[in-house]
Structure formats: C-alpha cells, structure tokens
Amino acid sequence: MTTLPQQSQEISYREAVREAIREAMVGDPRVFLMGEDVGRYGGCYAVTKGLLDEFGPERIRDTPLSESAFVGAGIGAALGGMRPIVEVMTVNFSLLALDQIVNNAATLRHMSGGQFEVPLVIRMATGAGRQLAAQHSHSLEGWYAHIPGIKVLAPATLEDARFMLAAALADPNPVLIFEHVMLYNMTGTLADAGPVDIRSAKVRRSGRDVTLIAYGGTLFKTLAAAEMLAKEGIEAEVIDLRVLRPLDTGTILASVRRTRRAVIVDEGWRSGSLSAEVSARIAEGAFWDLDAPVERVCSAEVPIPYPRHLEEAALPQPPGIAAAAKATLGR
C-alpha cells in the first residue's frame, strides 16, 4: 500500500498531514516518526492512524511519556544522520522539552562551529476551541518564534498541511510545525497543489482598504471577517503568515504600505506575543505609510476557559476582527 491517493479527491487536514508523513516515509528510509500514542493508538488527533501497520514499529515508534527524553532522542537521531519526525501531543506538553529544543536543537549548529546539523522536525497541536480547558488550549508558538536557530511553521491551509513537511525535512535545521486543533477536520480538495516554500507569507485574499494579518487557526476566522467587511464595502487584504520564524516582513510591509492600515489576529495572548512582534515591524518599516494605529485582536488574557460560551468569548472571533478593521478606517 504505497500508492498515494489522487490529490483531487476530498481530503481532510488530518489526512493531508498523514499523507505528507507517508510520502516522506516512502521516499526516504532515514525518516521515522516517534511520539506518545502515535503507533497503536493512531495519534491523539488520529493523524498517524494506520501508519504503524504500513511501516512497522521500527519507524512508527510509541514513546514513554517523557517529552524531554523523546525530543532529546530525536535530536540525537538527527545528529546521527536520521530524519526524525517527533510528534508532541500538544504544545503545553512541549514545555517539558523546552530545554532540549531551546538549549540543544536550536544551538548545536552554532556551538559546533557548523560541524553538526540538526535536521529534526517536531510537530505539535496547538490552540483552543475544543473545550480542553486551560491546560490544553495554549497557543505558545509565538514563544518558539522568539528562538534563533529554529524555524517555526503554522500550516493553515490543506496545501500547507500536505506539503510543508517535505520542505521542513529538507531543511538542515530544526523545524517546528504547529497544527491548530480546530483545523484537523477541515476538508477540501488539493487539485493543482504542489510543493510549497517555508520562507514566505501568502496573501490569501486581496484588498485595498486594510491588511488583516493572521496565521493557523485564526486564518479562516479572519477570512470570514473579510467577507463581513466586503458586505459593507470594505475590501480587506488577508495575509497568512505561514512561517512564524523567520517572519516574512517584506510581504507584510508591502501590503500595509498599500492599504495603510493593519490588524493583526493572533490566538496567543497579547502581551509579549507574536502579534506584538508583527506590530513592531510594521511600526519600524511602514510608519510613514500608516493612516491609523495598528490594531490587534488576540485572546483574552485569562487561562482559556472550559465552558463553550466562555471559551468562544475568550478567543478572536470574526465580528471582533471586523470591528477592529473598521476602527482603522474610522468607521
């Protein structure tokens, strides 16, 4: 069972990630996957279902519940010439592996004077919206985007879910991929999709009045907000950051220089967030082109609540995004 499904048929985000892993496993014997419950259970979000049967326990490895240990093992394997894909169940658990990621994976190339590369890929789920309460609903990808020496990706579209992994594995440096939990069930077709880069932000909707900047789970809420704005005659441009580190500042500035207004949508908390970084870059690079203060729509600065209505209220939603966009237009 090594043939890949036709790309034009209906596919979910979950299946797109799975196909990306299968393609990598089939194409390169150095690639293997490890993480908690990825084998027999099929993955906490069922991404790796069926892969154990197809590739066997040598290449689909269930690990003990020790993030520090298995991320560290992944770093060792990468140093040793393998191409490991490590799955961390959710971003909150990755905090147990912070030392491995920040102190080892991100620095070894530098510390060895370029003698060692760490071609490691770490995938993890991020974000809120599934009523998993305060300990499993974080959006901490902005923290990782702070660290030099790693790349941070946030695939939001099916195409990026399907093709970013190959580019990440081809990169000689550690790459972290954040998959938003609300996207796994999203479906669509992948006709005409192909290899993608992991350098650039993409304009997902063109507009001339205001630039809305989003990534991951907030991309589709932001596109919905743009639709609401269009009904009021406001043409919003929507940028999908895709790559959170290094940030594609050029695409952001080019758009803001045109629209003269920016709204940043980030499911992370506002203080010290990725949205703060994007806002600062706009101020640094496009100050003289601005017609309004930069607006941000972020999560409420509270532990993410469990009850559905409170969880929804705590997260960025389309009406709030549209209202922020209108504020930049003085409307």
């Binding site: 406001i234 003269r260 601005l290 309004a292 209202a323 922020a324």
Partner: protein, 378 residues
C-alpha cells in the same frame, strides 16, 4: 430604486470627471450628504445627493468622464425626486457588532493637528497645510486620502480651461438672451453709518462688510420682482420661490465663480456675512458643494473698493438677471436744495427681455434704493 446622476453644475458644463467616491455601497445617505467629488472646468466640486436611501452600487468608476445626466450610482430605498411623495420610509437601524474596547486615540500634541504618519508625509510632499484639512480617519484624524483630496484640487485647476468655460457660457448668453440694462445711483450714506456704528463695538472677525447689507437688499427687493429671479428653460420662464444669490468671486490666477448663498432673504445680516466669508474661502481653496454651483437664481457681481464706478454684467444662463454693484464712492449730491458730499454706489441691472421689461427692472432698483435708506430693517 433611484439613480444618482452626474449633476449639471452650470449651463456651461457638459461633462464631469468622477474624482472620488466619498461614500461606499451599503452606506445610508441622506438628502444633502456629500457623496462624491467631481472635477469640472471650475475645479473639484463636492457633489451632494438629493435622495435619502442606501447606496446600492456604483455605475461609474473613479477617473471616468461622463456627460451630465449619466447615472453614477443606484440608490436603494430612494424615491426619484420627481415621483409623488410617498409616506416617509423610516431607515432601519443598522445592527453592528459592538466594537471591542480600545485605547482612546490621543488628542493632537500642542498646536498640532491629529494626522496620520502617511498624511504628514504626503502633506510635506505636496505642500499641503494640515491645519486647513478636516480628517476622515479614526478619531477624525487626517489621513492620506484627505491630503490627497486637498492636493488634487489646486493641481488640477486649469485657468485656461476655466477661461474657455466662462467664454462658452457668456457667448451663449449674448447669443440667446436679449439683454436690457438699467443703472441707478443709490445713496448709501445711511447704510454706511449704520454699519460703522455697528462695527465699532465688534472685534474685526465679526464686523460687517458693505456687501452684506447690499446683498440683503437685493434679496428682499427680489420678493416683489419674480420676473428677475428664476430660470429660463425650453419650457419658458420658471420663477423661483427661493432666492439664491450667486455671488461672483474672482479666483486667484484668473477666472471667476459664482457660488450661491441660499435663501438670502431669510438670513439674518450676521448670518449672511458669515456665509459670505465662508464662501469666499472655499471658492478659493476648492471646497464648494455642487448645489452652490448649480442653483443660483440670480447673480450679483460686486466690484468692491478697487473696482470701477459701474458694471453692466452678462447674465449667466439659465438665470434671467444680474445685479451689478460698482465701487462705493463719495459724490456730490443734491439734498434739500444743497450740494453735499454723499457716499453712493451705482447699482445696475442686466435683465432678460424675454421675461421682463425695463419698467419691472426700474421698480426693482428703486426698491433696493428704498431698502438701503433704512438699513436697520434689513
């Protein structure tokens, strides 16, 4: 559904260029709202709408030059002005998502207008004075679009174009309108004294200029002379119940405009003076509204202190009369059998013989004279 059309901003206008939409599809508009800017031979003019409704969609793109009367936009829920009046439609409340609380915009720094960085840079480039602009951005801040609008108007003004437009209108007037002319010397000593007494108690910005009582006298005198106030069209003469005085204003760099002051007969003298000052400023800076350019019912041309003794003007079609006011001058006059110096002005009337005769014109001028002898009643 009604159509919002390219208005005629004068007999000489055949087409206009849409420079900018100031409102957007989906916006609710009310009669009198400014919705667009149109470039004419007279410069950039702000165009008002004459229906209440919601802008359904635009029919003409920015930059397009279209003939007068071309539909520019569709207005939903609007009633064409000519249709019989239906019961008023109450606009439904537009439900909007509540905006999240946000930081209040800071006020401008000491003496600095609230303007965006982009607006500041553009103002610097184009040499536009930010203090003269009204902001349309967040917190009424001046944004780049406001500066662009202000920068466009003077740059686009072409004195040669305006000269051609004036020429076309005046040639048509002389071709079609059988003018007759009357002239009378009016003693304005009483008016002058009344005005000086009044001004003595006031700071300069609130003082009257002679133009105010003169215009007021013209407007009141017109109440009894319907044949001088209105329009001559293919259907013949239509008197106007309202009295909108077109005030001829010389433009720096050459040219002439005669924007209207509306309902002058109903304005208090100070109100009229304020409007006169405002109109002069806007005529020179390019902020006139479409109705001000298109609906004068008669024109007054006043040469002022540096003018000649008398002016016999050419009627601006489709109007049917023009009042000329010469330079106020000390002249010898006979009063109670003695020659005494009096302050006088020569008032003239050019009128359309298709509509009125010299007899009517003479009544009008004497009525003006009578009114100016009792200026406190103006």
């Amino acid at each position: 559904m009604a159509e919002f059309r390219m208005p005629s901003l004068g007999a000489d206008m055949v087409a206009g260029t849409l420079v900018e939409w100031l409102r957007r599809p989906g916006d609710r508009v009310r009669r009198g709202d400014i919705v667009a800017v149109v470039e004419t031979q007279k410069g950039a003019i702000e165009i008002e709408i004459f229906q209440d409704g919601v802008i359904e969609r635009f029919l003409v793109d920015v930059g397009a030059t279209v003939p007068v009367g071309t539909p520019l936009a569709l207005i939903a829920g609007a009633v064409a002005p000519a249709a019989p009046a239906p019961p008023p439609v109450r606009p439904e409340a537009v439900v909007q998502a509540p905006a999240p609380p946000r930081m209040p915009l800071p006020g401008p720094g000491a003496g600095r207008p609230l303007a965006s960085p982009a607006a500041r840079r553009m103002a610097e480039q184009f040499g536009v004075d930010l203090r003269a602009l009204r902001g349309s951005g967040p917190g009424s801040a001046i944004v780049s679009a406001d500066v662009e609008g202000a920068a466009k108007a003077p740059r686009r003004f072409d004195p040669a174009e305006m000269r051609r437009a004036i020429g076309a209108a005046m040639a048509r007037s002389k071709r079609e309108i059988p003018h007759y002319y009357l002239s009378t010397t009016i003693d304005i000593t009483a008016t002058q004294q009344w005005m000086e007494a009044r001004n003595a108690e006031r700071p300069p910005p609130q003082r009257l200029l002679l133009a105010a009582p003169l215009l007021k006298a013209v407007a009141i005198a017109l109440r009894g002379s319907r044949e001088l106030n209105g329009y001559y069209t293919e259907r013949g003469f239509e008197p106007s119940p309202a009295i909108h005085l077109g005030v001829a204003i010389a433009i720096r760099g050459g040219g002439l405009m005669a924007p209207a002051i509306h309902d002058v007969n109903n304005l208090g003298i100070d109100e009229l003076m304020a409007k006169l000052r405002d109109l002069g400023m806007r005529a020179r800076s390019g902020g006139l509204r479409s109705s001000e350019l298109s609906d004068s019912t008669i024109t007054v041309t006043s040469l002022g202190e540096r003018g000649s003794e008398a002016v016999f003007g050419i009627i601006y079609p489709p109007q049917v009369a023009l009042v000329g006011l010469g330079k106020p001058t000390e002249r010898p006059a006979v009063l109670d059998g003695k020659v005494v110096p009096r302050r006088t002005i020569v008032a003239t009337l050019s009128a359309d013989h298709r509509v009125s005769d010299g007899h009517r014109g003479a009544i009008f001028l004497s009525e003006m004279d009578r009114l100016l002898q009792a200026p406190e009643q103006l």
